[in-house]
Symmetry: C2
Subunit: 187 residues, 2 copies
């Protein structure tokens, strides 16, 4: 494995209300110099929750996603607030988006979005021992539709046209392997 390239310089080259783009100038160990751009994510990262209602039932949501301009079958997720732990953020987002709280939360793995050009990390949290909670207002412009699905039908879920998000598909398979005892939690 090569030595890591050296960062020569970094500077914000564009920003909007939500996004910041940074240029990074690098020198690789072979002497080649280049410059990249990367999207700066939030420092704390995001959580993505896999809510397991019982041993055969998974909860997902249908949410309008402006990036793809349609409703997507996806998992609850959101940014971690400043000072909030990964598991607390997961339980909060679960309550806001799905209407359940969890008695058991497991940080399964942290995954990157696009490691070549984004600093963003998303922490996958498996939520078990669910119990209904009073409605907690989130930041959604319309109520989210919560959908119950059969965990055994995972391959049928992920080939659906409205289930496209890479992080969601990765989290679903990782969770299946975790629940089957084939993958251990990260921490």
């Amino acid at each position: 494995m090569s030595n890591k390239p050296k960062i020569l310089n970094q500077a914000i080259v564009a920003q909007s209300r939500l996004f910041r783009i940074e240029q990074v100038d690098l020198r690789f160990s072979n002497g080649v110099e280049t410059h990249y751009e990367r999207m700066l994510g939030s420092t704390q990262g995001a959580v993505l929750i896999v809510p397991i209602l019982n041993e055969s039932t998974l909860l997902m949501i249908k949410e309008y996603c402006v990036g793809v301009e349609r409703y997507e079958l996806t998992l609850p997720k959101g940014k971690i607030d400043s000072g909030e732990s990964i598991l607390d953020a997961a339980n909060r987002e679960l309550q806001e988006e799905v209407g359940y709280a969890a008695g058991k939360l497991t940080h399964l793995k942290s995954i990157s979005l696009a490691p070549g050009y984004s600093t963003q990390f998303t922490h996958i949290v498996v939520a078990e021992e669910l119990y209904p909670c009073e409605s907690v207002d989130g930041d959604e412009p319309e109520p989210l539709e919560v959908v119950s699905l059969d965990l055994e039908q995972l391959n049928e879920i992920v080939v659906q046209e409205e289930c496209t998000e890479g992080r969601t598909i990765a989290a679903l398979y990782l969770t299946r392997e975790f629940l089957n005892g084939n993958v251990e939690a990260q921490s």
Copy 2:
């Protein structure tokens, strides 16, 4: 399912050499108006290739990723050139990054990166019937390290600290299910 929100207005609010950020003003079917920002990906999208050397061997690459500032264990990928088909782009990137060409290419599924705030789609292509090809120069600043891995050890691969990309993990599991006859290709 609600009716889709109506797009009232859209405008580029920030851009750099590689990124363009668009603001989109929306009115949901319940009358709520809001504005989002999204990152505009390339129109053609990207390809991500899962190279299958033989029935027990998968090829991956180790590549420096400036977003996470370390070498990542990932799959070959790249943007589709203008006028290029998904399968042609996959075969080109495979040759540039792995040094093999494929006799059989299957477009398995197209996945979104972050459907809530990115228009980006990545087309997963399974590459089989590989044969070594002459070196084709890509756009890499240093040679990529190609790694042979045992397909049966997929759960050990995806829990590695340097294997974090959501799209890569999704593509690996989808490919395993495809090769086992449990998931059909999209087209």
